[in-house]
Symmetry: C2
Subunit: 142 residues, 2 copies
């Protein structure tokens, strides 16, 4: 049996967790790094990545693998869906309850063993919606 590692709550780890919780954000590792740096100027980006991974494994936060390249981290570890802005990448919670019966539809219809699902909405955040609208106005009045 592999021994369970003891986890330490270091200053770095605690600060990262606090910042995520305070901002209630869906931040990228880099965004978190910039925020943490204000409190711990000598922290390294590698430490941020390692701790986000550890905190996710501990179940205190949630790692999000949404569309696009970068991973984001959610202060809320509970299962819920997200909506992502296709222009700026901003992420928000999607106000819709988890579809717990979705997997049932696949039983017997696939050779895979189903574990779960990921659902993500795509759209435009308010800022980008407005900017897009202005672009169209501009075109039309020319």
């Amino acid at each position: 049996m592999p021994e369970k590692k003891t986890r330490r709550m270091t200053r770095q780890r605690k600060t990262i967790l606090d910042i995520l919780r305070q901002t209630k954000s869906h931040a990228s590792a880099d965004e978190i790094y910039e925020l943490v740096r204000k409190q711990l100027p000598r922290i390294s980006l590698g430490t941020v990545y390692r701790n986000l991974e550890v905190l996710a494994k501990m179940g205190l936060i949630q790692k999000l693998e949404l569309g696009g390249t970068i991973k984001r981290f959610d202060w809320n570890p509970n299962k819920h869906y997200h909506i992502r802005c296709l222009v700026c990448g901003q992420v928000d919670d999607a106000p819709i309850a988890p579809l717990n019966q979705l997997e049932d539809e696949l039983y017997g219809a696939t050779v895979f063993s189903i574990i779960g699902h990921r659902l993500e909405f795509e759209g435009l955040c308010p800022d980008c919606t407005e900017k897009e609208a202005q672009k169209i106005d501009f075109k039309e009045t020319n």
Copy 2:
């Protein structure tokens, strides 16, 4: 008005499309590169990436942004869902019809302009299911 580029059907582009269609696969750029190389040994990986992007823009194939790091390309450009093996990354179609009314639930409940959604099932493919089962057997009989 920006002029529309004329698209050429080069040998490289055609070969990539043919291979995707023949294998009916959800292959990564690298997997496609290896297959195309058998027919066009001098093709470069950059060309594969560029053409997959172009073919997706032309609507002949579909770019998939599923969980994990790598992008995959689907010979079938029509809207449908996928199931991905959490162990080996293999992707298959999910036998479930598109949930076309899903966005309706969000109208008025979010400040985002909603454009669409992405749904992906996670599980274990048959091979990995069996391998996992063997691991557990092994543990239990020890």
